[in-house]
Amino acid sequence: MNSRERVIAAINHKEPDRIPIDFGATGQTGINVCALYRLRDYLGLPKKDVDVFEVIQMLGVVDEDLRQIMKSDVIGLNHPEDSMGVPDTGKKKKFIMPDGTPCLLNAGNEWDVDPDGSIYMYPQGDRSAPRSVKMLDHGYFFNIIDRAPEYDEDNLTPREDFKNFFSVMSDETAKYYENESKRLYDETEYAIIGNLAGAGFGDPGAIPAPFEKHPKGIRKFDDWVAAQLMYPEYVEEVFEMQTEYMLKNLQIYKDAVGDRIQIVWISGTDFGTQNGPFMSKDLFEELYKPYYRRVCDWVHNNTNWKTYIHTCGAITTLLDDIADMGVDIVNPVQLSAKGMDAQLLKDKWGDRLVFWGGGVDTQHTLPSGTPEEVAAQVTERLPVLSRGGGYVFNTIHNIVGDTKAENIWAAFHAVHEYNDRHFGRQG
């Protein structure tokens, strides 16, 4: 099997010839630029400025040389605009991380370094708008700044507030997706995940809109969470609007990429916390499920793609609904959260949901364990998670900036060794 066939088998719940691996294909299975730079060095790869594909979390582009060493089977079809709303014109600008890691951002980005060493960026590179994100003098990523003015609860205007938040895909973007999907499909053997997004209903990382110049309305995360109960009509109106845009964009996207992608990444809304779900099952079913269902139904009625969502945390109470609403693949499978037991997940939902992630605990083991502990944990989890297919290996969420290169390598190398041991050595 080649990589694409391997992933296709896994996401169709068939056992592939080895456990497939994702390294850096999405905005939640990636690696911070600082960790990436050190990993390249550790593996003896040439030093180079790291291209950034997600600015706020400072995720680095994984180049082909590294992708091969990590044996990733998946590649992402990424948005031509970064998370600050700046398009990739091919021109880049150097950005130095506080720890010295050299990176390249889309040239349209604008930032300031304050006297205390903090770095601030402007939305869409527009210096006339208020700065929307901040990186500390020793930080690894940007923090989003709350900018929305107070809202008037007696006069809520959801469509007006979110009118610059959603947009219909431009012809230019569609053309980019068409060409890029052809390139990835024809020139590589990787499985392709289309990082479309657009159905992240109520995503805490998106609501404050660091890419918008002047966000308005209910945008602070706790206001938003409370609004779900206090002003459900507001939230519903935003979700309705979002669904309308998403369905339009799906059609344009489908016309552009056809069946060259195998998976579509639609949502990164977190429904779980460390100790339990963010919300009751009732609220999820009322407020979220119907909109997700419309999006997933469209995908299944019109394409061969599998639907993929990312949600952290303890979500066992919501997984029936998540499977039921048409989600095929769930990431990051946070086994360190309460009740998220690998065996239980496989037993109860393994035939309906593909688990993508879960490979190593990124809250304790990966950052503070020894390489041996990391490898041992991966090796222990693999047989449980990969039983019957329906599994793609990744760490739990992005690899954060200060993670030791030897631990990252230990995690991925443990999968290589497991695969060699169980399925025979591969070239």
Binding site: V225, A226, F278, D402
Partner: protein, 215 residues
């Protein structure tokens, strides 16, 4: 207990802010002392919400709206509490440590502490160690509460402990820590005084610490 106080508690649990406000006013009109309304109406309601949250019977949205309703009620009571000379049960400063912007957990802890009758000064997110110390000094706080959700920002908690110990507040304030990656072991290692895994337990522990310190 009087009917109106039960009513306040139950409205608060449902997050019905305007109704809580009206009911608190009604209780005042009936001549019930402000401190009783606070304790047996508002705080009693918040206690129930905290316990249910801990048991995963209600979730973050319900706690947030209940806390907003509590605040509306407290607003009505405040002038009476002040003129009656009702004392707060303790003072805490709280914030999410430097470099971290996760604030939902911190906000819930603040609300639950307020739900126990403590005065809480919320320093927001991305809070430097000196800011914790300065705020604790200015407000005469007994507790410094730090929240961190990231393994990359957890070490900031140690810096807060060190900053407190380097100041004259050493031994006069207690440091509480929490957030998803924090464990009892970690709290011990950095010399924090108290760790709890959830907001309801945090509030009980905070009250207990304040009582101990004033005893």
């Amino acid at each position: 207990m009087s009917e109106i106080l039960e009513e306040i508690s139950s409205l608060l649990q449902k997050g019905r802010a305007p109704k809580v406000k009206a009911a608190v006013q009604q209780a005042l009109d009936q001549g019930i002392p402000a401190s009783t309304i606070l304790q047996d109406g508002l705080l009693a309601g918040m206690d129930v919400v905290g316990a249910k949250f801990k048991n995963n019977e209600v979730f973050v949205p319900e706690v947030l709206v209940a806390a907003r309703a509590m605040n509306k009620g407290v607003e009505v009571l405040r002038p009476y509490l002040v003129s009656d000379g009702v004392e707060e049960k303790g003072v805490a400063v709280i914030g999410t440590v430097k470099g971290d912007m996760h604030d939902i957990g911190k906000n819930l802890v603040r609300m639950m502490l307020e739900g126990k009758g403590l005065r809480v000064i919320d320093l927001g997110v991305d809070v430097a160690p000196e800011t914790f110390v300065d705020a604790a000094r200015e407000n005469g706080a007994q507790l410094v509460c730090c929240s961190a959700l990231l393994t990359t920002t957890m070490p900031e908690m140690k810096n807060v402990v060190d900053a407190v110990n380097a100041s004259e507040l050493k031994g006069r304030v207690k440091i509480m820590v929490g957030g998803a990656p924090i464990t009892q072991e970690y709290a011990d290692e950095i010399g924090a005084d108290c760790y709890t895994p959830d907001a309801a337990t945090a509030a009980e522990a905070a009250l207990h610490l304040c009582e101990q310190m004033s005893a």
